[in-house]
């Protein structure tokens, strides 16, 4: 039976051989055919020569979560032939480079083998060593075009766009595509039963990774100072920001920069610079990953206690310690919520995809300046580094940044005496002043004990007075963070509660459960401290399945601590292996628990 626009395939290569551009070509071509598509890059922490995979899922219903069921394996790395062959579903296909014979022991009776002499053909067609390796990748893209029915006109257009100024490269790429395409057409029945047909489901969408989207968000939010220390998987966020700034933040008259990107000596300094800049009145941010947050913890406490805005992106990867730097996880939920010694509690935002990464980047600056506190945006490697199909980003030109309660020189002129930490408005948020504005605005910022007037204190009551107000202020932010996404169905008695990048897997699982007759309500937290709706949702279901990607059920711990909902109502469903979560993980977990509950 043909499976049109509903299948998955995986491409196995070695990294550093240029397969990324071939994979991107395939992804984009399918996307331009109007078919919903998802790509997951599974790459090593290495520059060249180690195994790397690219997974592409095509789904006409629009499901975008990772799927571990592969119909077709493009096995181009002999080092991983064995495990790649094992991953193909029964009845599937395996494409390999038949320039060299395939070890007979790898052959499975339930898999169809498609041998294409990619290396031999490219060696005959191209001369340079580098070109031969690169074009081998483009040739498999051509073969896939024939086997899956990718529109070759779209491929031609994509190559023309990409190599607009490099005619020679365009020609050699096109030749390589043709070689692969023609060979497949001549030797195999094309297309295969897994095939593509043009749709009209991606018109309002873009393909973008979360780091690029977040960097764009920082640009649009008006951030002027970015400080960072390079770390996988957050590096491309600052590179995206810096790249956009080169395009949009050059003074047209002087060609000078309306931004500063500071590459710090470590993450401690990176956050110190952000805090210094925030103190001086700039919108400043730093992108990092879990190891960076560990190092920044001291400064996080300073910003919290001295009430200085700072935006921190945590593109989470697998911990603890160095962990698996190129695998994804939601392992920093607890750490970010309460980072640093002493009593602290932080505003966190949890994007589920690149579109939300863009929107929440902007929201983070507003919240941070409004509440005068560090704000975390907890993305992850999957969101940050993979290309996602999301609705086009939109921008409201009426947007005005919320710079918070900052007194101007004119306002200071009118006040009798300015006190930094006085709760003038009764909302827990004091007024602040910037250095250099007015002599009356001067105060001493300190991470040591201080009273409501900004003076140093070792008096217990004065100390507690400020700490209690800060607690009220942060609690107030629960009403200002993005509201949870809630989907309910009539008659549901159980709920799923999840966070961030688990979203795609969960919504698919909810639909699959419905097909089994299991009605499930759904809530995705989008901000911390949790809005009241989170507690209400958890309390209104006999059982809530808390779905997340870490070992210790961190979201569940946060829910217990913050909402008071008992653990008996919070069943943990989790996966911590480092790959993006699939609906399969959610289903397996929920079904097992449902049996237990029944």
């Amino acid at each position: 039976m043909d499976r049109v626009n509903e299948f998955a395939f995986k491409i196995a290569t070695a990294n550093g051989t240029g397969s990324a551009s071939a994979n991107s070509l395939i992804m984009r071509a399918i996307f331009r055919m109007g078919i919903p598509v998802t790509g997951k890059n599974v790459f090593p922490s290495n520059i060249q020569g180690l195994p790397t995979w690219y997974e592409i899922r095509v789904n006409r219903h629009g499901y975008t979560a990772r799927t571990p069921d592969f119909d077709l394996m493009v096995a181009l790395n002999p080092a991983t032939y064995q495990r790649d062959a094992a991953e193909v579903r029964s009845g599937g296909w395996m494409l390999f480079d038949s320039t060299w014979p395939l070890d007979e022991r790898l052959r499975r009776p339930d898999v169809t083998y498609l041998g294409i002499p990619l290396a031999a053909m490219c060696n005959a067609e191209f001369t340079g060593v580098r070109e031969r390796i690169l074009m081998k990748n483009v040739a498999y893209a051509g073969a896939l075009a024939a086997l899956l029915g990718i529109d070759t006109d779209i491929i031609r257009t994509l190559l023309t766009e990409k190599y607009a100024k490099k005619q020679a490269l365009k020609d050699s790429n096109q030749r390589a595509v043709d070689i692969g395409f023609d060979y497949a057409r001549e030797h195999f029945p094309c297309p295969l039963p897994i095939r593509l047909e043009a749709m009209d489901a991606t018109k309002d969408c873009i393909l973008i990774d979360g780091n690029t989207a977040a960097g764009l968000g920082c640009l649009y939010a008006g951030a002027t100072v970015g400080a960072w220390y390079p770390i996988t998987p957050a590096t491309s966020l600052m590179e995206a920001f810096a790249g956009f700034c080169q395009r949009y933040r050059k003074d047209p008259d002087t060609a000078r920069n309306r931004f500063a990107v500071l590459q710090a000596e470590d993450e401690l300094a990176a956050l110190g610079m952000v805090i210094g800049a925030g103190w001086a009145g700039a919108r400043a941010f730093t992108p990092t990953a879990g190891p960076g947050i560990s190092l920044m913890s001291e400064f996080i406490g300073l910003a919290y206690y001295a009430e200085i805005p700072a935006v921190i992106f945590d593109v989470q990867r697998t911990g603890p310690s160095t962990g698996m730097p190129t695998r994804t996880q939601q392992g920093d939920l607890m750490m970010c919520a309460y980072a640093s010694h002493g009593d602290t509690r932080h505003v966190c935002l949890y994007p589920a995809d690149p579109r939300e990464a863009f929107e929440m980047a902007v929201a983070a600056f507003d919240l941070s300046e409004r509440f005068q506190t560090p704000v975390f945006v907890l993305s992850d490697l999957d969101i940050g580094m993979n290309d996602w199909m999301v609705k086009r980003l939109t921008w409201d030109d009426a947007y005005v940044p919320d710079r918070g309660k900052v007194l101007s020189a004119e306002q200071l002129e009118q006040v009798k005496t300015f006190y930094r930490y006085l709760d003038v408005d009764g909302d827990g948020i004091p007024y602040r002043t910037l250095p250099g504005v007015h002599p009356k605005g001067a105060y001493f910022t300190r991470g040591s004990g201080h009273n409501r007037f900004g003076g140093y204190t070792e008096d217990g009551e004065e100390y507690a007075d400020v700490m209690d107000r800060i607690a009220r202020k942060i609690q107030r932010a629960s009403q200002a963070v993005p509201a949870p996404e809630i989907r309910t169905v009539p008659g549901a008695t159980v709920g799923i509660i999840t966070v961030g990048g688990c979203h795609a897997a969960c919504v698919e699982a909810v639909d699959l459960l419905a097909r089994d007759g299991v009605k499930v309500d759904y809530l995705r937290v989008r901000g911390f401290p949790f809005a009241d709706e989170v507690r209400a949702f958890a309390e209104s279901h006999a059982v809530n399945f808390v779905v997340e990607q870490n070992r210790d059920a961190q979201l569940r711990s946060l829910l217990m601590l913050e909402t008071g909902v008992p653990i008996t109502r919070l069943e943990s469903v989790r996966y911590n292996g480092g790959f993006p979560m699939s609906a399969h993980h959610v289903l397996t977990g929920v079904r097992a628990k449902l049996e237990k509950v029944a």
């Binding site: 210094g276 001086a280 001493f444």
Partner: protein
Amino acid sequence: MTYIAKPKVHHPALQKNAIGLVRRDYEGSVTTLCAGCGHDSVTAAIIQAFWELSVHPHRVAKLSGIGCSSKTPTYFLREAHGFNGVHGRMPALVTGANAANGDLLYIGVSGDGDSLSIGLGQLCHAIRRNVNALYVLENNGVYGLTKGQFSASADPGSLSKRGEANTMEAIDGCLLALTMGATFVARSFSGDKEQLVPLLKAGLAHKGFAFISIVSPCVTFNDHEGSTKSYAYTREHMVEVVEADFVMPTKAITTQYDPGTTRSVTLHDGSRVQLTKVADDYDPTDRDRAYGYVREKHKAGQIVTGLLYIAPDSSDMHEQANTVAAPLHDLPYETLCPGSAALDKLQTRFR
């Protein structure tokens, strides 16, 4: 005597500077350090330097880390924003603040523990970035607030108050700064206000990171016999390399010194540092020779003071980052956000 509040009314006869302010206007709250602390003399010199420069106090930002020295920004310029950050991390705060608002004068005050142990890395990189700030290292060779442990600047053989000898090599902040590429390196002594005030003024006028290490004895934990950071030892062993005098850009430049021994270095704002050679063959614009000279005198048991090195062609962090002239924190939002039309156009790239 820290319980006595300073009087706010000034005597009418007090001398005023070019903007009509008296020295008192540059003071802060009363010191809480031990009586006789070298740091208080440094604070007095800082007050004098700002007063002489006729700076509006609120156009200064003063930052520090943690430790006795880091408490001192409360004792000067009460109308300036202060920031007492975390231990050893003041350089990052200054860097960020300066990036956001390059229009202010920045002074960072630190100690030998703050700068040379916990904050060594941050100091090195702030020097490399050439952040436009005056960095004052008040060096007493000892941890005061935790009661008398050796710091990284304690000389080998120097005795603690309990009589233990330091066995490790000392880090010399000035040699470190020279190695890291500092564009302004000076050393002085808290008890030598005549030398210190012009150096501080020159450091504030310098465009870039001005590093001044000041031997500032700890009267409580490091002013005994056997210490190499005591008042007595420092007075006995210091040797001046150059006499520095700071000349404001508005002032007529007069040559007070024998032309054969005076050299004038012009800073970016037109002000000048006039240097009188005390030592033979000393050239404060030759980094390598400055390094060699300090080492050589050190071997002879001498502490070289004065302006050790200055690079008149210093290019600070903002210049290197090619930022616009206006402070970044104050740029109108319209000039920062490309708007919805640009976003629509940009997204064709993501199709």
